[in-house]
Every structure is written in C-alpha cells, then in structure tokens.
Amino acid sequence: MSPAAAVPDAADAVCDGALHMQVQQDRPMPLAGELSCAPGELLALVGPSGAGKTSLLRCLAGLMHPHSGRITVGGQVWLDTARGVCLPPQRRHVGLVFQHYALMPHLSARDNVALSLLHVPRAERARRASAWLEHVRLSPEQQRRRPAALSGGQQQRVALARALAREPALLLLDEPFSAVDQMNRQGLYDLLADLRQVLRIPIVLVTHDLAEARQLADRLVVMDAGRVLQQGTPEQIYRSPRNARVADLVGVQNRFAGRWLGPLAPQDEADAAGWLEWLASDGTPTGQRLRVRDKRRLRVGQRVTWVVQGDALHIGAEVQEACAGGPIGCVALRAQVVARRNLGETTFAELALDGAPGVRLRITRAGPQRRALQAEGWLQVRLDCDWVHVMPVRTG
C-alpha cells in the first residue's frame, strides 16, 4: 500500500475518526446529501427502496463514484472530486457487510475471513480469522464449513467477521438483517450492541425497517428519491418531521390537515403560540381549534399538515393526569373507538372524533393501559398541544 493512501487533510482539523460525507450528482441517478457520523455512533439510512440509501453506502465504500463530493474519515480524504482524489475500495479501510452476505462459496468460513487478511503472514492469517469468527460466536467446526452449509444467521456472522477483520475505520451495513429470521435477528442486534462498545468507529446502517432503525440507531437519515430529507435522533424526527413526505416515510400515524390562523391574542405572542384550525382531509372544518407552538414560519391562512405522536394523546383515566403542555396547554376532545386490533401485548385503536367522524386518531397502548381502549361509547381524549408539529403543505 502506498503512503498516498493516508493523505492527512489540514482542512479537517478533527482527526477523531469521524465520518464526513457530502455528495451531489444528477445523473445517472439523482443523489444528494451531507452527513456526519461520530466514532461509536450508529447512523441509520432509512427510506423506501430506490431512495438511494444503498447508493450512498456504495459511494462510501468506493464501489460507486458520485459526480461530485467529498468523503473524509478521521481526517483522511477518501474522495474529493474537486481535487481529483478518489481512493479505490482496496485503499479505504472500510468493512462492508453486504445485503446477501456475498461470501465466497468456494471457501470455508475461515478462509472467507482470511481473505481480508492477505496483508498479514499466512500463519497469522488463519489464527486471526479464527479469533474473529470466535468473536462472532462461530464454533471451530462451523468455521470449517462452506457458506452453503451454514444458516443465514451464521453466514451473516461470517460476513460481519470478514468486515471486522480488516480493522476498518468505517463499518457499513447494507440491510444486514433483512434475510435473517426474527429469532436470529435479536441475537445479531445484541452482537452489534456489544461490538459498538468495543469499536470506536462510525457505523452506517442501511435499513427499510423503521422499527429496527429506531431500536439500533443513534441518529436517522431519512432519504427519498436520492435526497437526504432530514437527519436527527429518532425522537426528533418522529416528533417534528420536516415535511409531510418525511412524516409519511417514517410512518407517523397521526397526520392531519389544517389551516394556520396565527396568533390571535397578545398572550399568544408572549407564549410563542399560534392557532391551528383542524380540518378533515377533504378540507371541511372539524370545529376544533388548537393552540400550538408557533415557529413563525407560516403565513396566516396557509393550509398546513400537522402531526402529533401517540404519546401526546391521553385517554380515559390518563386524562386526570396533569397537562404537560406548559404554556401551550392541552385540548380536550371527545372520540369513539371505531376499530381495534390486538397484537400480543399491545392494542392498536382508531378513534373517530366527535363532530368529524371522518377524522381518525390512532393510539397504541400496551399492558394494563389497554383497558381504556376496550370501552364502548364516548371517550375523553386529551391532546397535549405542545407535541403538535405543524408543516406547510408542499405545493406542486
């Protein structure tokens, strides 16, 4: 390996091992975005298929070359189209776990791992390959098998060991759990969590499974049609999606239409609050007005989309608890359960709003709190308005 592989970059004074990426291209497929990932952090790229998640990952690995962009890892420049720098995959210290493992079918598990250790002497190679495979909990007998004689979960572990054996500066996981059954998946989640304790490198995970992304990732990067739409912690994104498309993509359940009325009283100005007229999806008023947080980004009279997390909806006995809305406050509603689905320990219910039967509130409750959802007739519902997030409707 030539010394040119490690070009230190003065512009990136931070040499802490963090990943910084910025890409931009229109053809052959649009791809645009900027992201960073600190060492030890797990970043999940989420979005529908064709959103460009895997393409972004391939750019990081050096398997795809974006038209313009810049990638640095720990201050080392991997790609800088402005300066004509583009390291081949061989010279990027990257571990990539492929979606369908991509193990060599003609080699044993151990030889597969040893393949990424060609730079070390032969005897040492076998010893290290075995050590990595033991680390991912593969027995010596299993290590001698070819991939075809291993289960999906075991193949996945071999793929992970192969990626780690390179002692990468960046770990990339492309839908790593999609082909593994649920039982083995939990084991792999645990393995990944353990590895994160040991490895202080940035980890980028591509997944279309939102539950998985929320469970594993420190931060989410929401992508659609080749573009990064929003990034932040799962909590931030679910609570305040940037726009209606993001709300759709991350599966925000309580999404409604409205009209922005703006501040109506001097006290509203003082509290940084504004009024929102709740509309049914066809635009007819529901008769409800909500006093919500005003970020001064909306025009009065503008049509808006707004979302609220299930956590902000209180029903039955929960209504007695103190309103946590602060100066923004809460609103009391009346609704009726119109659909109910029990899934194991959780119940999912749809509530029709009094006066606007077309508007549905979606609530999930687990354990003893499910009882409130079993009631027939009208229910008291309290909506914590501080959790309401208002977005402009995208026109065109």
Binding site: P88, P89, Q90, M104, L115, A149, R166
Partner: protein, 222 residues
C-alpha cells in the same frame, strides 16, 4: 491403425489448447466483464465458426492465408512463414475453429459470478490479480475445465477445416479423422473401424471425466 496420424492429432489438440486456453480465457473474461458498442458483433464473430460449415471456414482460411493472398505473401516475405499444407497452418485453423468452444463456456462461467462477490473482494482489499486468482478463477473453474476438454476432443476429431487447410500429408497434416476417411475410401473398413472406435472411446472418456470433475467441484462441501 495409423499411429502417426493419431499422434499428429494429439499433438495438434495439445498445441491448440496451449494457444487457446490463455487467449480464450482473456477474451472470455473481457467479454463477460465489459460492455461496449459492437459487443454483439465481436460475440457473433467468436460464435461464427460454430455455425459455418467447416469446409467454408477452411476455404476462407486457405484463401486468405495461402501464399497467393496478401497476408500469405507478407508472411512469406517477412518471416519466411507458410500457413498452408503444414502443421502451423493446421494450428491456426484449429485455433480459429475452436474459438467458440473455448470462449463460450468460460464467458458464461465468468458471467455467472455474482458482481457482489467481486465487490466484496475489492472491499476486502484484494487487487485485480488477487481477485482473479483467488475468486474468479476458482469459481469459473468448472466452465474452464469443460471448455478445455471440449476443445481438445473437438480438435482430435476435426476433419473439414484440417483437410482444406492442410491437405493430407502423412506425418505433417494427415490427422486421424482424415486417415479414417482415407481407409474408408480404400475399402479398408477394418482399419477405419478400429480408428473410429478409438476416437469414440477417447472422446467419451474425456467428456465423461470432465463431467465427473465438474460435478465434484460443484458439490457443496460441508
């Protein structure tokens, strides 16, 4: 039994293999990996000897490489080289004629390697040669083996092209297939019988051995 003819055929088959294996391997891998305008034309040219009557192919080779042709004249004047009615001429004809038998199976074998494996090799740090040596060749091996056997056996029994290009000079261009034809023409059916049977058995043995080896290679090993 015309042992000289048999030996000549074996020599020709071995020489053809020696030339065509590295060349065919390179051409097949290039065709499998590259996409370019006019690729269909190149592939068509490679397959052409398969569909052309051997006598037609032999005729064109004779006409284009013979001493009367510009190429033939140039070869003769520059290198003092003749490509007709000698072993070298047979070799050239045999190489051209066997091109599809060598290239096609190997090309299919390379094409069957999932691109993700090549990418996985690159990400694992393997350069071009290491990838070729440790990943591509082992995976394409059954295709390469069957192509080599096919080429060898096919050359052993080749008749039309060899006759056109080489005539029938004993010890130089009279191969076993031509010898069989000669014996039949001379009503020496007993000799023809023996040689034909030998050729049949040799071919069967080689093809069966390659199938056996391929099946062993493909068998998943615990």
């Amino acid at each position: 039994m015309d042992w000289t003819a048999l030996w000549l055929s074996v020599e020709l088959a071995a020489a053809t293999l020696a030339v065509l294996l590295p060349g065919g391997l390179w051409l097949a891998r290039w065709l499998a990996r590259t996409r370019f305008a006019g690729k269909a034309l190149v592939e068509g040219l490679v397959v052409l000897p398969l569909v052309l009557p051997p006598t037609v192919l032999g005729y064109y080779l004779l006409v284009s490489l013979g001493a009367g042709s510009p190429i033939g004249r140039w070869l003769l004047q520059t290198f003092d080289l003749r490509l007709t009615f000698n072993f070298l001429g047979l070799l050239v004809a045999s190489v051209v004629f066997n091109l599809p038998f060598m290239v096609q199976p190997i090309q299919r074998a390379f094409e069957a390697i999932p691109p993700a494996l090549i990418e996985a090799a690159a990400v694992s740090g393997l350069g071009r040669w290491a990838t070729l040596w440790r990943v591509e060749l082992p995976l394409a091996w059954p295709g390469i083996l069957s192509a080599a056997v096919l080429t060898f056996v096919h050359t052993l029994g080749e008749f039309g092209v060899v006759l056109m290009m080489g005539g029938s000079i004993p010890g130089q261009t009279k191969t076993i297939a031509i010898s069989i034809y000669d014996r039949v023409q001379a009503f020496d059916l007993a000799s023809a019988d023996r040689m034909a049977l030998l050729l049949l058995l040799l071919s069967l043995l080689a093809v069966a051995a390659s199938f056996f080896a391929t099946a062993r290679l493909m068998r998943p090993r615990a």
